[in-house]
Symmetry: C2
Subunit: 451 residues, 2 copies
C-alpha cells in the first residue's frame, strides 16, 4: 500500500498561481485610512519592495518563481502527500484520507514558502534588513531562515506571551542569526504607548505588527514582511496546492472534501486556491472547508467590513472578516490562529460562497492530534489539529453513511516546538475558550465605520 | 543543480545487512559475569524476544525486513540524501559534500529504524510492555512511537538531568502514550541504591539501563529494549547505508570519505557497514571515520576490554572500548554520545583497523552546526554536529590541497528538542569538557579484570 506520493525536484511547480483573475468578481481594494481612497504603490513603498507590490495587485494568472527561490525551495520541496492508511483504519472509515505535509521545511511549517521569496525580492532591491512580527514563532523563524539565506538582517517582534512561554522558537530565530524583541517593547512608539497603559501587557499579533511596521517605516534601509493575510503571501503558498494536484494525479484520485485551518489564511489559501481553480473550471468539484478556533472565529462570527490589520491603526484599511482590530483572543495554544482578521482575498471568496467555514473548540482538536500522532507518527502543530478535527468529523460521517469520500487535509506543520500544548491537554488543563457573545459585541464596536 | 536524491517507496531496501560474516574475524562473544563463559540464548530470554536473540547471534549476511515493519518505515523512509551545495559554497571547497538525513522520522532521529522492528518482534511473541532507558530522549521517544504503533505499553527511565532540563522529550513520549520516570528512581532496587548513596544524583545512561533491565527481568509480560550497542540494533540501522548506496548511484558518485558520530555506535554503523561491505569486496575504497566527543572518548582513549554495559553490573560482559562502567561523563549537550562504552561490533571493527576515529570538543562542533543551519536550513542535533565538524575539517583540507573529494556525512537528527544547547553556544556559555587524564585513569580502574 502506497503511503507517500513524492515528486522529484524536476516536477516541482515553477509558477505561483494568482486566483484573482479567475474569480467572478475582484476583491475590494485596501483603502488609505486618511483619504478613504484605494492605496497606490507609492503608499506601500516604505514597507515593501516594488516586486512584491506589483505581485500584490497583479492581474496575471501565473507568476514565475525566480530560480534563486526554487534553489532554496529544493532544500525541502516538493513536500510529500501522504495517504493516512493507519488513521483510516483506527477510525474504521471507508473514506480515503490524504494529508499534504509542510512540516518537512527547515522550521517545520509552511511559512518558508513565502519567507524565502520575500527575502529574495527585498535583497534583490538592495534592502539591508527586514522587520516582522511573530506570534507562536513559526513565521519569525521562517523569515529568520530566509534572511540568513540571502544575507539580510532580521528583526522580529514576538508576542510577549509566546516569547516567555515558548523560548525554543526564539532560540531557533537566533540560531538563524535574527534579533528578537518581546512585544510590546520599548523599541517603538507603539510599544511604549501600550506599555504605558498596561505595563504587564502580554501582547498580541496586532500590537507586534504595529511595532514592526513602525520600525520599518522609519528606516530607509529596512522593509517589513508579513507572514499571511496579503494577496502576494497567499499566492506564494499556492505551490502547496499545485504540488498536491500533481500528487493526486499520481495517486489516481480526486479529493471530494478539502479542509484546512485558517488564521490569517495563507496555509488554507495555499492548498485550496489551485483546487478552487479546477472547481471553477468544472474539472473537479471538491467541497472546500476552512476551520477556525472557537476562541477566534473571524470568518464564522466576525463582521465583513473595512478594518485595520494592526492594533495601532498603522496599516491600510482592509475589507475582511474581522473581530475588531483591538480584539485580543484568549491564549489558546494555536498561536498562529490568533489573529483578529482574515485575509481579504479569502474573506471575499467566502462572501462569494465558494468555500464553507466552521469553528471548533481546541479540546476536540487536540484529541484528533493525539489520535493522529499515535497512528501516523507525526505530532501535528496546534493549528492543523483544527483541520484534523474537521477531517475526523467528515471521516466518521462517511462511516455512518458508507460514503467513500476522498478527504484532503492541510497538515501545515509539526508540534516539536509546541509540545507544552500537548502536555496541557494530557493533564486535562485545556478549555475551549469559546468566544462569548458579549465579548464579541464589545470587540466589534472598535471596527471603523468606513466602507 | 540537484539538491536531494530521493528513492521511491518501491526502491526501499527490504533486507537488513549483517556485517559479521563478511569480517576477517568474528567479534568476541559476550560473557556471563558469573561463569566467564559466553552467554547463550537462555541467558537473554528474560530480556529479549527469541527473534531478536536469533538476530543478535546470526551468521546470515541478510535478514528480511517483515512487511509490518516496512509498512511503518514508509511513514518516513526512504530518507533523503542531500548534496550540500550551499555549505560547499560557504566553505569555498572543491569537495562535494553529501548528507544522509534521518531527521525526517516521526521523532526526528534515526532511532525509529530499530525501535519499530524491536516493538514488532516483541508484540509478535505476545509481550505486553517494553522497558527502556533514554538519555537526551531520542531513543525513548522512538520506542514510545513504536510501541504506540504495535499496541504495546512503554515504560521509560530518563536520565534525571535530561528529564529536568529537556521537558519537551518527556512530553513527546507521553503524547505517544508512554510512562516516563526520572532515573535514578524509587521504582527499582538499582535506583534506590544510587539514591541512598547520593540523593541528588542526576543519573547516567548506565544507571537508567540498570533500572530498565531490572524492571523487565522481574516482569514476565515485559521485555527490555536497547537503542544502540547490540549487534541486532546496528543491523536494523543498516537500512540507512543501503539506501545511501542506491542514492549515490542516482548521483553518479562514490564517497571518498564517510564520517559519522559515535555514542553507542548504531547511527555510525548503520550508515557505514554497507559501505564497508563494498570496501571489503574491493568495489569502492572510502575512508571511514568515527567522531566522538572529547568529553567521552571511548574509542580513542578507552580500554578495549570486557566490561559491563550498565552501572549496576546487571548486563553480560561485553568486549568493547570502555571508559569504565562507573564513568559518568560531563554534561555536554550531545546526550546521545554520553555512554561509557562502544558497540562491541564497532569496537572489533576498529581493532581490525577498518575504520579511523577522532575526538572533537563541542565548541567546534556547534560552530559547524550553526554554519550548517545558516546554509542548509536544518539545525543539526548536537550529536551529528560532531560529524559535521569533521566534515568541515575535511572540506577545508580539500580547499588547501585542491582535492575534489566526495564526503558523506551521517546527519542523524535535528535539534528541535535540543535548542537550549544552541542558546548556550550563542551566549558563549559552552566549554569542551575534554576528559582529564586523571579522571580517565580513575574511571578505567573500575573495568573488571576479566578476559
Amino acid at each position: 500500500m502506497k503511503t507517500k506520493y513524492i515528486l522529484d525536484e524536476a516536477d516541482m511547480p515553477t509558477r505561483w498561481y494568482n486566483i484573482i483573475p479567475d474569480l467572478p468578481a475582484p476583491p475590494p481594494p485596501p483603502l488609505h485610512p486618511g483619504t478613504g481612497q484605494p492605496v497606490g504603490p507609492d503608499d506601500l513603498a516604505p514597507l515593501f519592495p516594488q516586486a512584491l507590490i506589483a505581485q500584490e495587485v497583479s492581474g496575471e494568472r501565473y507568476i514565475d518563481i525566480p530560480e534563486e527561490v526554487l534553489d532554496v525551495y529544493r532544500l525541502w520541496r516538493p513536500s510529500p502527500l501522504y495517504r493516512a492508511h493507519r488513521l483510516e483504519k483506527a477510525l474504521g472509515t471507508p473514506a480515503r484520507i490524504y494529508y499534504k505535509y509542510e512540516g518537512v521545511s527547515p522550521v517545520g511549517s509552511h511559512k518558508p514558502n513565502t519567507a524565502v521569496p520575500q527575502a529574495f525580492y527585498n535583497a534583490a532591491e538592495g534592502v539591508q534588513r527586514l522587520t516582522t512580527e511573530t506570534g507562536a514563532g513559526q513565521w519569525g523563524s521562517a523569515l529568520a531562515f530566509a534572511c540568513a539565506t540571502f544575507g539580510l538582517e532580521c528583526e522580529v517582534w514576538q508576542v510577549r506571551a509566546s516569547y516567555d512561554q515558548k523560548p525554543y522558537r526564539k532560540i531557533m530565530m537566533e540560531t538563524f542569526g535574527a534579533t528578537v524583541h518581546p512585544s510590546p517593547s520599548e523599541e517603538t512608539e507603539s510599544g511604549r504607548k501600550i506599555l504605558a497603559a498596561d505595563p504587564g501587557s502580554t501582547g498580541s499579533l496586532g500590537i507586534a505588527i504595529s511595532e514592526a511596521v513602525e520600525k520599518a517605516a522609519g528606516d530607509p534601509e529596512a522593509r517589513y514582511a508579513l507572514g499571511s493575510v496579503l494577496n502576494h503571501v497567499l499566492m506564494h503558498q499556492t505551490i502547496i496546492g499545485e504540488e498536491a494536484l500533481k500528487q493526486f494525479e499520481l495517486a489516481g484520485d480526486t479529493p471530494d472534501v478539502l479542509v484546512g485551518c485558517t488564521g490569517g489564511g495563507s496555509n488554507f489559501g495555499g492548498l485550496a486556491f489551485p483546487f478552487l481553480r479546477e472547481k471553477l473550471a468544472g474539472r473537479m468539484s471538491p467541497e472546500i472547508r476552512a476551520v477556525e478556533p472557537a476562541a477566534c472565529p473571524s470568518l464564522t462570527r466576525g463582521r465583513y467590513a473595512y478594518d485595520f490589520g494592526d492594533t495601532a491603526g498603522l496599516t491600510p484599511l482592509l475589507k475582511m472578516h474581522t473581530l475588531g482590530h483591538d480584539f485580543i483572543p484568549d491564549p489558546i495554544h494555536a498561536g498562529g490562529l490568533r489573529y483578529h482578521g482574515m485575509a481579504p482575498l479569502l474573506s471575499h471568496i467566502y462572501e462569494l460562497g465558494l468555500i464553507d467555514a466552521l469553528a471548533i473548540g481546541q479540546q476536540e482538536c487536540f484529541a484528533a492530534g493525539i489520535q493522529f500522532a499515535r497512528t501516523e507518527g507525526i505530532i501535528p502543530a496546534p493549528e492543523p489539529t483544527h483541520a484534523l478535527a474537521a477531517c475526523v468529523r467528515e471521516a466518521l460521517r462517511c462511516k455512518e453513511t458508507g460514503e467513500e469520500k476522498a478527504i484532503l487535509t492541510a497538515l501545515c506543520g509539526h508540534a516539536h516546538l509546541d509540545l507544552p500544548a500537548y502536555a496541557a491537554y494530557l493533564a486535562g488543563q485545556m478549555t475551549d475558550n469559546e468566544l462569548a457573545e458579549e465579548t464579541l459585541a464589545e470587540a466589534l464596536a472598535t471596527v471603523p465605520q468606513t466602507g
